[in-house]
Symmetry: C2
Subunit: 223 residues, 2 copies
């Protein structure tokens, strides 16, 4: 799958809605058709104007939180960051991912190769996972660029294990078991590996606001 840009997300939401309404469709299948599932947000595109809309979609009003200029100036280190501008943009992405979760029919997702960062959201919001033996699943931005955007790690792992993963365990690449239907007991359910060092040191190295966000995002989760 390409990176979750606004046009891709609008297409995802519209396709899921159409399949959900089509009486001939009993199951929705999601997979990447390249060398991996999805590599996450395109950070170059993000820096250079992520807010571009699909041609069909209605353009957001000038100066909206989806305006590329607004997004980039909100990340200007010399200015104050407005969390509500970020939330207005990212919560719309999460709403698009969650169309997989909220639609009326089961969504089966096949994960192969890399499934990383923003790419994990689409896998996590699916109902059933089939994970290839060579799959590499992880969330490298966590602890540096804020909390994972969906609460679906907690939904998969339970809040307690998701909390450990968010604050001190290795939030990175795990192999799937490769067996059909085993996804939910596989990579996304094992909760990361212990790291070699002292977890207290790992926690102490995190910026305080990131740490508080990681805890908030897991503690307020309602299953």
């Amino acid at each position: 799958l390409p990176s979750p840009s606004p046009p891709l997300l609008a297409e995802l939401e519209a396709t899921v809605e159409h399949a959900d309404l089509d009486p001939a469709v009993h199951v929705i299948l999601l997979s990447g058709n390249g060398k991996g599932f999805c590599g996450g947000y395109d950070l170059v595109d993000s820096a250079e104007g992520q807010g571009r809309m699909s041609e069909e979609g209605a353009a957001p009003p000038t100066g909206s939180p989806l305006d590329p200029l607004v997004m980039s100036s909100n990340h200007d280190p010399s200015r104050t960051w407005d969390p509500m501008v970020d939330y207005a943009m990212m919560s719309r992405n999460v709403r698009a991912f969650m169309s997989l979760f909220h639609c009326g029919k089961p969504v089966v997702c096949k994960v192969h190769g890399f499934c990383v960062a923003g790419g994990t959201d689409m896998a996590l919001c699916s109902d059933l996972l089939v994970i290839a033996r060579d799959a590499k699943i992880g969330y490298p931005p966590a602890r540096v660029w804020g909390s994972p955007t969906t609460s679906m790690w907690a939904h998969r792992l339970g809040p307690q294990r998701a909390k450990a993963l968010a604050v001190h365990r290795r939030f990175t690449l795990r192999r799937g078991s490769g067996r059909m239907g085993s996804g939910d007991r596989g990579a996304l359910a094992r909760g990361g590996r212990r790291t070699g060092g002292d977890p207290r040191e790992r926690i102490a190295r995190m910026p305080l606001n990131q740490l508080m966000m990681m805890k908030l995002g897991r503690s307020t989760f309602k299953g």
Copy 2:
């Protein structure tokens, strides 16, 4: 406001989203511009083909739960009613109403004249209510045609009072106080009048499936 038909609901959702993104908008105001706020679903239109889509909107697939023929044949008394067909249609209406509740900016709703049945959903999903002294608010279909579609009566009144209203109190017309800002302590917060008779008789007259739906809809509410 006209009856909540699919084109009106699509327009409501799109207008709320646009206002939510527009940085010049601080508050969203909702009111009827006729002799009342909203009279609810148009039952004639409903019987004759409620599923018509707005001209701009993508047409749902043939045979979908939004197809007028599917809806009307699902209400053919000689055939078995499929609750999931009804849910697929009505949950999309609720999603449109709830765009008022979920958008990032406060929604102030003015209620005057009649605000009845499906029309109450738009008022209930708003954040703040201003209710005219002459307003008449109620949900006459309840107890005959199923539970109110949103859970917002419970949100306004609390689950316990909403439950009493749903199963034995008079679920009908109440006056607002007419004072600015008093809406939340006014008509929608008083929870209906006691009826003259024995509440046990009133409950005993309700069909069992309606009674169970009324209780389920209130008991599973999470505030």
